[in-house]
Symmetry: C2
Subunit: 132 residues, 2 copies
């Protein structure tokens, strides 16, 4: 089975996050995209999302590594729901690497020019239901 | 906080499924909607989705009850990702009721007339990543 185009788009976004190339990161998001920073804290729009990525890089002392393990993509016309096992590796308080595995949900839409843009970036997946 | 319009739309769809009013059920789906019947089995389009609902009703001997417990809705422009704890109650082989709880992911889009339509119906949520 050929690799879905979105697998490449998401891998490129992860590379851009790790390189802290925030222009390239933002190129993946729709103007009205929604990002879940953490349960209970969501931002909308490119400006706030860019600020969040800068803050996240600082928060993890520029040590954040991201890869997507398993991925399942469900499509309907120009819209896709991506389910992914996201593996985040960061340097912990002791300096030793720590791994976090999250089951993420991303919604993408292909625009008129045929380019996939992220509308909803929720790396917490259905774990958001644990809140409240 | 006022109840999100999609809460009402989804509750009405669940009522229609339980009433086996398949015309009303299909009214909630986009023409190009994708339904995950079970892991590994996905259908696209109103005809196949309607057939699936008829088969599911038969399969559970017309005993299926559905409610959505907790729900979290993430929006981006005209698109929404719904995370929901779906509770399915069916009559088991012995005649006793059995409950299944699933953490579901649904993608909806508001059409030009302002009506929410379901694009992707995946009641298995990120559990689809358990496959393969």
């Amino acid at each position: 089975m050929p690799t879905h185009e979105l697998t490449r788009v998401i891998a490129a976004a992860d590379q851009a996050i790790m390189a802290e190339d925030f222009d390239a990161v933002m190129d993946v998001y729709d103007d009205h995209a929604t990002l879940v920073i953490r349960p209970g804290l969501t931002v909308v729009g490119k400006g706030p999302i860019r600020k969040a990525f800068v803050a996240i890089a600082e928060h993890f002392d520029h040590s954040l590594k991201i890869t997507q393990d398993k991925m399942t993509i469900l499509e309907s016309g120009d819209t896709a729901l991506v389910l992914a096992e996201a593996v985040l590796q960061v340097r912990g308080a002791t300096g030793a690497p720590q791994s976090l595995v999250r089951r993420a949900t991303y919604v993408f839409r292909k625009n008129a020019a045929g380019k996939w843009l992220c509308l909803i970036d929720n790396s917490y997946g259905t774990d958001l239901l644990n809140e409240g």
